[in-house]
Amino acid sequence: MKIVLVLLALVAAAMADHHCGTLAGLKVKSEWGRAYGSGHDREAFAQAIWRATFAQAPESRDLFKRVHGEDTSHPEFIAHAERVLGGLDIAINTLDQPETLKEELDHLQHQHEGRKIPDNYFDAFKTSILHVVAAKLGRCWDREAWDHCIEHIEKGIQGH
């Protein structure tokens, strides 16, 4: 009996992959492909992610004054939201190409450094992505895989 329990625990430990591994990356990449969409769908997708972020961390709006963060329907903000998703799209799509991913994350880190972004804003952004993707995809998505892979990408942008 004890042996069975130990075995079960081992199996459970082996299945709960606590990092963004090869399979998790492939999964997120394919799920992202379905969620990202195009045209007006993509605009709405991007805005939903930002609205959810601002709802969680209202103070973070202050960082987006330059791109009219006070109004997520403003053309300047829509353009900004699309740029952000464009960067995320590159990162997610190169999860299986570590060297290229590293180059993109370094580029994004450089664009973010000096802007004094607290860690909890990145947490809020990750939570938003997870929620909006879940809403878009319904049942067919793997929360844990997304959690680990978005965290991996955000760590690269934060540089720690």
């Binding site: 394919s30 007006h40 053309p75 699309e82 190169t94 290229t100």
Partner: protein, 169 residues
């Protein structure tokens, strides 16, 4: 004679005044539709890297001074990760603008941002964008079975002209 002249003048006025004939609603709908065909598969990054690399290396071949401008992203090793990431960024910017064609104010804001990002890169010239447009117009029909040259030409012209609008030369 006078009537002919009037018709000609009339045509000139019409086409100068009405920007909306260029990349019309139907034009950009066609462009978006034909562009979407490229992204049916999950491996979009491979297509973007490959296509972007081809476009940029061709540009550097036709206008040699361009190679210097891409030194920072290691154009000397076009197969390397630095240039791959850059090819992705350029293709994604193009993808973003195409996807915003049906939201002109947001498109204008996005293009303005791209114009600024090129304005601060010393040495980038309008002539480079003109050549890039030609290379792109030559390359797209080779990857797209359905390609409406007139629609693409008018929409790409608007996009590239605005990105190059803050350049002096």
């Amino acid at each position: 004679m006078l009537r002919q002249l009037l018709v000609i003048v009339g045509l000139a006025v019409c086409c100068l005044a009405s920007d909306e004939h260029c990349c019309s609603e139907e034009d950009h709908r066609i462009v978006q539709h034909q562009w979407d065909v490229l992204w049916r598969d999950t491996e979009s990054s491979k297509i973007k890297i490959g296509f972007g690399r081809l476009l940029l290396t061709k540009l550097a071949k036709e206008i040699p001074e361009v190679a210097d401008l891409f030194k920072r992203v290691d154009i000397e090793h076009p197969e390397g990760p630095k240039f791959a990431a850059h090819s992705l960024r350029i293709l994604n910017a193009l993808d973003m603008t195409i996807n915003l064609l049906d939201d002109p104010p947001a498109l204008a804001a996005a293009l303005d941002h791209l114009a600024h990002q090129h304005e601060v890169r010393e040495g980038v010239k309008k002539a480079h964008f003109k050549k890039f447009g030609e290379i792109l117009a030559g390359g797209l029909p080779r990857v797209l079975d359905d390609y409406d040259a007139l629609a693409w030409k008018s929409c790409l012209k608007g996009i590239l002209t605005k990105i190059a609008s803050k350049l002096n030369a």
